[in-house]
């Protein structure tokens, strides 16, 4: 089974990362892999805010915006 390739941009960090994930992986799977708590971020998939249960597709650009900013 071939993997899918996606690009992840974490807002506030300089570099984008390219990641390989299993086919049918969801955004929630990606967040677990990155050790990101869904309560503290918003995810944009190819520019659109989406739910974490959406399945990823090959070539997706995923932006992760941290929303917990205060002290």
């Amino acid at each position: 089974m071939t993997c899918i390739k996606i690009v992840v941009k974490q807002v506030g960090k300089r570099h984008k990362r390219e990641l390989r994930l299993a086919p049918h992986a969801t955004i929630a799977d990606l967040l677990r892999k990155l050790d990101q708590n869904r309560e503290t971020i918003v995810v944009r998939r190819n520019g659109k805010i989406v739910v974490e249960e959406e399945r990823l597709s090959d070539g997706d650009l995923i932006e992760i915006l941290p929303i917990v900013t205060g002290g």
Binding site: V11, G12, N37, R38, E39, T40, V42, K48, I49, V50, V51, E52, E53, E54, L65, P66, I67, V68, T69, G70, G71
Partner: protein, 316 residues
């Protein structure tokens, strides 16, 4: 593509604690409805009142200001905005123009009160002094106490009937847990959707108290509001540990934050019986209301060899 439970459009948010998916439009409508419900249920605002809103430029306060301006328009209330410039280099200097620009675009009078002008030192300088003097107090202690004091003073000087802050569900639940951990009955008892009027204090209201932080962020982003999303450089300590714990709890057990809030709201009337009433006095140094001889801000300033420089705060 996952669809909105209510209208079938593409879902933007999974409200797991309620078992529903929401699209951008339904999320915006839902947040606005909860905001209006909080105001009605807790009688936070009355028609014709003058309301001061505390605006930092972050997502919560910008969302609160936009929600309030629409509400105030309907209820014939007057809205003014106050920003406290603590003087945090690389942070507040970036959010302040965003606060100002949002207020300008909404046609709201905007006032800035600075630590530097009032206390003679920015928060950055205060933190350096505190380190040099080994006070072992966390930057959030100085910032929280002094910011609250200045907000109250500024709201009073502006003749506000209410002071609205943008505390969301997460902020409130974190405060509940923090006061549990510290066994601080007095501060715990003061939490709630509003704080009753007392001499010298402008009554505070928290219309976002029952809206989770993530939903407030989504509201601001989905409405395309300009907000400052950077992280405060002084974030840390027990506040952050409690926040991370609660977020983990919510991720594993959705609805935990609401349950903590509901439990607290039911317990609150009992707390009134064990928290003693205290006599309100005037601070000997600055004249601000306090339960002691000098207020907490002046006490912290004294510990750093500083004092309030000016009593009238307002500047543009």
């Amino acid at each position: 593509m996952l669809k909105c439970t209510f209208c079938g459009r593409r879902a933007a948010y999974n409200r797991r604690y309620a078992g529903v998916l929401l699209c951008d439009r339904c999320l915006i409508k839902s947040v606005e409805k909860r905001f209006r419900r909080a105001i009605a249920e807790h009688k936070l605002l009355s028609p014709g009142e003058r309301v001061a809103v505390a605006v930092s430029g972050g997502k919560d306060s910008i969302a609160a200001m936009h929600l309030l301006v629409e509400h105030c328009g309907r209820k014939n209330c007057e809205l003014v905005a106050i920003t406290i410039d603590e003087g945090i280099k690389g942070y507040r200097d970036q959010s302040l123009p965003i606060a100002r620009e949002n207020a300008r675009s909404l046609g709201i009078e905007h006032y800035v009160v600075s630590f530097k002008r009032t206390f003679g030192a920015t928060l950055d300088q205060i933190v350096r002094r505190a380190k040099a003097r080994k006070t072992e107090l966390n930057p959030c202690t100085y910032c929280g106490v002094m910011r609250r004091s200045l907000l109250n003073q500024a709201a009073r000087e502006l003749g506000a009937d209410k002071l609205a802050t943008a505390h969301n569900l997460d902020d409130e639940v974190q405060a509940i847990m923090l006061n549990y951990v510290r066994a601080d009955f007095s501060r715990l008892h003061r939490l709630g959707p509003s704080y009753p009027p007392r001499e010298g204090f402008v009554p505070r209201i928290k219309p976002l108290r029952e809206i989770p932080e993530k939903e407030v962020a989504l509201y601001a982003l989905l409405r395309g509001l300009e907000v400052h999303l950077a992280v405060c450089p002084y974030t840390g300590g027990i506040h952050t540990e409690i926040r991370d714990f609660l977020n983990q709890l919510e991720a594993n057990h959705p609805n935990s934050k609401f349950m903590i809030l509901r439990m607290f709201d039911r317990l609150k009337p009992q707390l009134a019986q064990i928290v003693p009433e205290f006599e309100m006095r005037r601070c000997k140094n600055c004249g601000e209301p306090t339960s002691a001889n000098i207020c907490k801000s002046c006490e912290l300033l004294e510990g750093l060899g500083l004092e309030r420089r000016q009593k009238t705060l307002i500047s543009y």
